[in-house]
Symmetry: C2
Subunit: 453 residues, 2 copies
């Protein structure tokens, strides 16, 4: 395990985040940025808008010997926005009004007044005067919205963490962080961090426990795992193996990656961190192929995933959400007798959806998804979580197809989300040359074994 | 503000969560459960798989005088799963092997072996033996997956927090929590919590700062805000006002709710916590109406949102993701000359998408969405974030329509997500009787003013 240079905490404030109504996006985002800078993140803590709770957490960070604390939120104009005052108290620095900053904030607020003609501008300006209070000795980060950020050094070098104070809205926080890392007050801390490399392997169709066994096997073969910080996790149906190491341990990492590649050749799909979405996009663009999707239980999520990346209009023509059976027949062209004979949730209908949407959109690749997301809708022999997939195409003049029927675990949302992952992997495999035997006999669905564990 | 009875912390473990690659779902979920039980949540902390970091956090919780700590994660079979050992050390209790529990875990693992015939079952059983280690005096919570949970009381009453140890996967954690709250060891703590009520108001099309001003106005009118714990937050383009209060402050809350309802009659859309999605679903079901959507920049997300609730097949027929212009023309029936004349991103094309998809699916209500999600694709006079919406229907024999052109801020993902919110609110308003003047002159888009702030 690499030794620890600079250790940091992220302190997210906001009663709405603590209360579970708002998902914190800043903690994860800052976590990745700190890792890129070689900073060791010790914890992310979410507190409400109570100053005493926030102060206690800052003091714990100091007691734990952390070098850096990055806060988000609590910089707004309302009375419950107290971060600056708490940080000033924590670092024992007086607050003073920065009049030029106050004027710049007033400047920012002027156009707002035109949009909201009924606003009481005096009240607004008074609230925002609070935002121009700066602890002495702190570096001001220019507002992206209306709130400035701060870099507050410890009273004496080494006497506590440097605190970087950032606003809560991600679209203000992110550009401001880019500004902060350029400033000498933060650079001074960051420059003490070591340099680490990080690599990610991604596997699909394997339980996490098999990776644990592979790590033991690598150990038995003499790979010095002590020099690597390895994390494995199951994420949206895929296993990710993330390894962090000092530059001189690169050969050890290569040895580990070799063992994993050898033992999991059929399920390792990414050794450079690229997602299946990125791979599918690249395969489609490289071969100048277009794609369309007809989906039922996923209700648009497969199409949404295929349009998530910028530039997706180069390959994605569109899709049909064939939720009602009539839509499957009338819009996608699924023969009504197929639905009658096999049921709407069947591999036969999945095939017809894939073929039908390909024809309707004039696409090279078609995806069909039909299943039972639950909680209701189960039938004899067709439990909740059963989802049928088909991906069909004509590649180099050859008709190719992959058809799968999968039993997915979890809630309605889980089943819908996991289904999009299965669909993406089937597209990837088809584009890389996999195809079902022409007899139509589906191979055992190793693609989705992990879903069942 | 209600006084504090029982105070708690949530401690989430997992390097993959701390690293930002996995979104923590347990913290927010447990936060809501604790609130329902009248427990005051002080903080949520995420730590990695390092025992010393976790132990430090537990000790901080004890130092802060917290009564309860709920942990999630770190109960798996791998070497980095250390929660039980750390909690035993924290509470100064010896670990012993519970042999009956070990046998029950073995029983759970047996069927797994059939699914994964290549597993080394001895290694699996050995790893899982670790999961049968129990701190003395702890209550065992039966495994939902393979990992049991624990309730570990303090060494002496009042000598520290009771620690509830739960597994990381939400679908194991959630049923196990339901079990835990029935157990005497946890009941004893929970019974000390007070009883609080909680209410939520939701508004759309208003900046958060206007609510702050309304609270000041309520204060001026003599509403005793000191008795209420009020949180406001902006979430997916809506402002939520959540108020928590002791039962004897119910009249005070009613007074506050009255002031808000009076000042924000046009933007307050929910006073019972119901989401716009639930309201749209209820309005459609009550009136036995069906709906379909044709969407471009949102790429399926509007359809996905309309199929998110169980039972949505009662009203949702489906949709078309008309990503390519040819799909707008050929699948939805948008006249090609409209696209040529006004551009694909125009209110005219949005109207044609709504009308076209309604006709194609035979639906009562049609939604059309077309816009520029970015980061590329901006054109002269059509910046990134410009999204055009149309909702059309024939209600009680009358053709009605709402058309809006909105400039949304943020990233590609933000624009796509906010667009779904705008679409849902337009549907709600149309179903409640709003309609544009037949001349086609769109009213100023107050519906989405807040999006611009």
């Amino acid at each position: 395990v690499p030794d620890r240079g600079v250790r940091a905490a992220i302190l997210v404030t906001g009663t709405e985040v603590l209360g579970g109504r708002v998902t914190d996006r800043n903690g994860p985002w800052l976590s990745e940025r700190l890792r890129e800078l070689g900073v060791e993140l010790a914890l992310i803590t979410i507190v409400g808008d109570r100053p005493e709770d926030m102060l206690a957490q800052l003091r714990h960070c100091a007691a734990d010997g952390l070098d850096l604390v990055v806060t988000s939120g609590g910089l707004g104009p309302t009375a419950d926005d107290l971060t600056t005052a708490v940080v000033a108290r924590f670092s024992d620095r007086e607050l003073h009004l920065d009049e030029q900053l106050e004027e710049r904030i007033a400047e920012i607020l002027r156009p707002l007044a035109k949009r909201f003609p009924h606003l009481d501008m005096d009240a607004v300006r008074e609230s925002n005067r609070k935002q121009a209070l700066v602890p002495e000795g702190a570096t001001v980060l220019e507002p992206v919205g209306t709130a400035p950020g701060l870099i507050v050094p410890p009273r004496e070098p080494g006497a506590g963490p440097t605190v970087v104070v950032l606003p809560g809205p991600p679209r203000e926080l992110q550009p401001m962080w880019a500004d902060a890392v350029q400033r000498p007050a933060l650079r001074e801390v960051l420059d003490r961090a070591g340099v680490y490399e990080q690599r990610m392997l991604r596997l699909f169709g394997i339980p996490e426990s098999e990776i644990a066994e592979t790590l033991r096997e690598a150990d038995r073969r003499g790979v010095d795992l002590e020099r690597l910080e390895i994390t494995t996790c199951l994420r949206r149906g895929e296993v990710e193996v993330v390894t962090r190491f000092a530059p001189d341990a690169a050969d050890i990492y290569s040895a580990l990656a070799g063992v994993i590649a050898q033992r999991h050749a059929d399920t390792l799909f990414s050794d450079d961190g690229r997602s299946v979405d990125e791979q599918v996009a690249e395969l489609l663009v490289q071969r100048a192929l277009t794609i369309a999707v007809a989906e039922s239980c996923t209700g648009g999520l497969v199409a949404a995933r295929l349009t998530e990346l910028p530039g997706s209009s180069r390959y994605m023509l569109g899709g049909v959400v064939a939720y009602a059976d009539a839509a499957k027949v009338e819009i996608v062209g699924v023969p009504a007798e197929l639905i009658e004979r096999f049921g709407a949730v069947s591999t036969e209908v999945a095939d017809a959806l894939a073929d039908g949407v390909r024809a309707r959109f004039g696409a090279d690749v078609g995806i069909g998804v039909t299943g039972i997301a639950g909680p209701g809708g189960a039938m004899e022999g067709k439990p909740v979580g059963l989802v049928c997939f088909s991906v069909s195409a004509v590649l180099d003049g050859e008709p190719v197809r992959l058809t799968r029927s999968v039993q997915l675990p979890g809630s309605r949302a889980d089943v819908r989300d996991r289904s999009t992952t299965v669909a993406m992997h089937l597209v990837r495999r088809l584009l890389l040359g996999a195809t079902d035997a022409p007899s139509g006999a589906a191979e055992p669905d190793t693609a989705v074994r992990a879903e069942r564990s």
